[in-house]
Symmetry: D2
Subunit: 285 residues, 4 copies
Amino acid sequence: MNHVYRLVISCPDQVGIVAKVAQYIADQGGSIIEANHHTDSVNGWFFMRHEILASSLKQGLAAFEAGFKPIAEAFEMDWYLSDSAKPKKIALFASKESHCLADLLYRWHENDLPGEIVCVIANHDDLRSMVEWYNIPFHHVPVLPDSKPQAFAEAEALVEQYQADVIVLARYMQILPPKMCEDYAGRVINIHHSFLPSFVGARPYHQASERGVKLIGATCHYVTEALDAGPIIEQDVIRVGHAQSIDDMRRLGRDVEKTVLARGLRAHLEDRVLIHGNKTVVFDG
Amino acid sequence: MNHVYRLVISCPDQVGIVAKVAQYIADQGGSIIEANHHTDSVNGWFFMRHEILASSLKQGLAAFEAGFKPIAEAFEMDWYLSDSAKPKKIALFASKESHCLADLLYRWHENDLPGEIVCVIANHDDLRSMVEWYNIPFHHVPVLPDSKPQAFAEAEALVEQYQADVIVLARYMQILPPKMCEDYAGRVINIHHSFLPSFVGARPYHQASERGVKLIGATCHYVTEALDAGPIIEQDVIRVGHAQSIDDMRRLGRDVEKTVLARGLRAHLEDRVLIHGNKTVVFDG
Amino acid sequence: MNHVYRLVISCPDQVGIVAKVAQYIADQGGSIIEANHHTDSVNGWFFMRHEILASSLKQGLAAFEAGFKPIAEAFEMDWYLSDSAKPKKIALFASKESHCLADLLYRWHENDLPGEIVCVIANHDDLRSMVEWYNIPFHHVPVLPDSKPQAFAEAEALVEQYQADVIVLARYMQILPPKMCEDYAGRVINIHHSFLPSFVGARPYHQASERGVKLIGATCHYVTEALDAGPIIEQDVIRVGHAQSIDDMRRLGRDVEKTVLARGLRAHLEDRVLIHGNKTVVFDG
Amino acid sequence: MNHVYRLVISCPDQVGIVAKVAQYIADQGGSIIEANHHTDSVNGWFFMRHEILASSLKQGLAAFEAGFKPIAEAFEMDWYLSDSAKPKKIALFASKESHCLADLLYRWHENDLPGEIVCVIANHDDLRSMVEWYNIPFHHVPVLPDSKPQAFAEAEALVEQYQADVIVLARYMQILPPKMCEDYAGRVINIHHSFLPSFVGARPYHQASERGVKLIGATCHYVTEALDAGPIIEQDVIRVGHAQSIDDMRRLGRDVEKTVLARGLRAHLEDRVLIHGNKTVVFDG
């Protein structure tokens, strides 16, 4: 994998943005590996992502960043520059079900996940051995009915201690407190085991079976205060029929859940997801 | 295509049903072309469908039917026997949008639809020429705000006149009166342009765009009094993203809508769909 | 649909291309609706496509084109500029099977195909009535074993007469002479009823059934002298199993064939397909 | 999961088979949980699979089996009866790549694989620690150019020692000797990383990239002496495009490979796959 810098921008649309940005990158000697643009003509908003070969820049990242600031200000950009050599740190939140957790741990182990898993925080102790085989710290933080605030405070302290950039709810089965949703806005990713907005809330496979749908799905989304209603990053479905019991749906669904979460997280880690209102722009690789 | 009789059964589950039915078919010399079974162990219900080669029966259909009655009574069966040589008659209800209508007409024209389109009833006159090219009677029955009951009465009279077995709402855009839903229960098929139960009601693509989903879909279902809530026959989805406008969704959605409707209708015409409560058993071919 | 100009470029990769092109567009006042880039780092080649809002350009298309020439020369670009107000002219070649032809005619009729069908040339007369319903000229040019050269000469003369930009073999079932493949390189699109490179040549569904594959597919590709081996534009598949006869495969396959052809042709008509060697870059909309 | 017996039959087609079998099952008090039939009318062959609730049989399995023999002989059946309480024993063959192995181990660990993994035999030692975490015996049997016969003899001896019912080549990367293919016919399952019959042999992703296909796939099949040409059990594909390098294909392909292998193996373990000639009948659950 190339060492790249990623320049991610969203701003009000106007003529000349691409030219200005591209000219600046060229002036710095920047070799563009990948470029994506999107104009939201309904809202008059512009989105842009560049991957620039790190070795091609005449000066370092700091100089590039400093030089870009005036441009960003002129166009009222919401922007950042990230460095693929400093992969995002991930805190995984888990419960008892292991399929999403196991999938992410394995991908990380195989260098398939462009991020660094720094810890697992679980409200049950069941998955300790699996996590520790990967030499990743496992913290058992029980979330009990009468001490939820303390539990979330402890979890948050751990997230801070490990300097995690993103929290992944890998079938965590707990609802984060509103304050935490707000503090980590755009940095908490959840996997919901339905094709949202269908079957919000608990027991979506039961709901799906009851309704008799012919496809079940999973949704990877950013967590907001509104339950299962945050910006959607990725979704997928799988075919079911009368022959599938709820247990079959659970089994088939697990494959979709873990794949959708892995794809959504991957996009986030590579700075491919730009949030705008309650929707996302996702630039495919 | 073989000339077959289709024996379709649902009844309370118990040991010996298959043996009894299979023995009866064998006694009549019946050669089974296709057999499907499903046991709903949650509700203790049994579903079965046989395709029997017509030429293999020693006696005719009437004799077969008469002989089967005692068995059906013994097992409290809900059952019927259909004849592939008497394809179901279809009344298509349409409005202005032609994609589903055109698709079904074309499939019928190519002998790809195992049914007979006997008439098109439309609340606008726009599609007359297209329908008449296929030599199918076209009836313009406007549905106006102040004369809806008369319009539906007229449409129903036409359905009766043509002795249609099934009504297909090919993007009809009108809500049938409750009485008609009841009279034609299990015989009115609708295509809804969303992945139900998401985005019930009007303008589902607008709703989908607003919510930022990454897949849009279509649902073929039986019409009941509860809007967009009847038993689902078939569903499918297609991938969308930030780059797709609502117009793009409409365009992409059309392909899914017509395919899903054609597949659902085909299953109905071949007696592959068994309704139980608000769900379906669909035996694939 | 907006009136846009499409600037399509491929050239050896180097730093500064995007900046130069974007700067030129901005200098002309050009508002970029859509931009796509691809760097083929293996071959050191760069591909770029811009949609520019026609009304935003200070001067007309000719002035824009003239001003761009020096840039194109400096970067050794293979390039062109197209005008969405001058949709490409399409000559459809057909035989007896109508599904692809009917699908394209219908899409065109519904303003869903961003091109203009100028004529249908068929080696059988069967589809005349269907074509003429759309008020499109139908030419019956039989291809007989002992007069193939004359037949293709006649077909080619018609293509020239109608000034067609692209030839679509909509299940034409005839192999074009090498000279014609060469003369119309990158301008003849075929649909093959298999997932190439599997099952090249005749009777692919028979081959698929024989091999017992669990998916069948279709491939839309540019025609070259090498049979079924030209650059692939689009492919898709559909699930089959032991229950599907060859006739079932044909029926299911028709849906895939027409969809894949329509998608591939659409991409071509919108100048989204850039050929490089025997492969394509296809910029999704 | 219910304790069931599975009665799996294939034989020349004739009237009365279903009746005879169903009557026998009913006479024994057998409650049928699932029944599947398929008539191959081209070859005049009949396939049938029943799941019978073990607790419903008046007598045990041995008595059922003994009583069925005369029926099997009368109809010249190729048949067997399996017991879900005695899951098939699986020997996994691996090399260095872990994705298929890890996936199957994890599914087994989660009680998602209806079989028992009894050992892993690998020609490299890299995956020992992963396997041993699951408390499964790991055997390093190097396959060196000058001692292949000895290596395969050793592997085969291990398979016999563990009384494995099925060998799974989980990206084993070695070609089994013809004698072994023959001895274990219908009991060795391979995953090939292409959509066969495309890209037989080595480096299929390179071949796919070279050809510019828009979908890549994987194929789960029984191993025969003819390389990558045995009966296909399951296949699937994933979309790729110009943006995907060979490394991207490898990464995306891994997800397809492991899913296709798990699905194919699951079908085999549940006795859902009936081989006939070089094709399979796969009865979905």
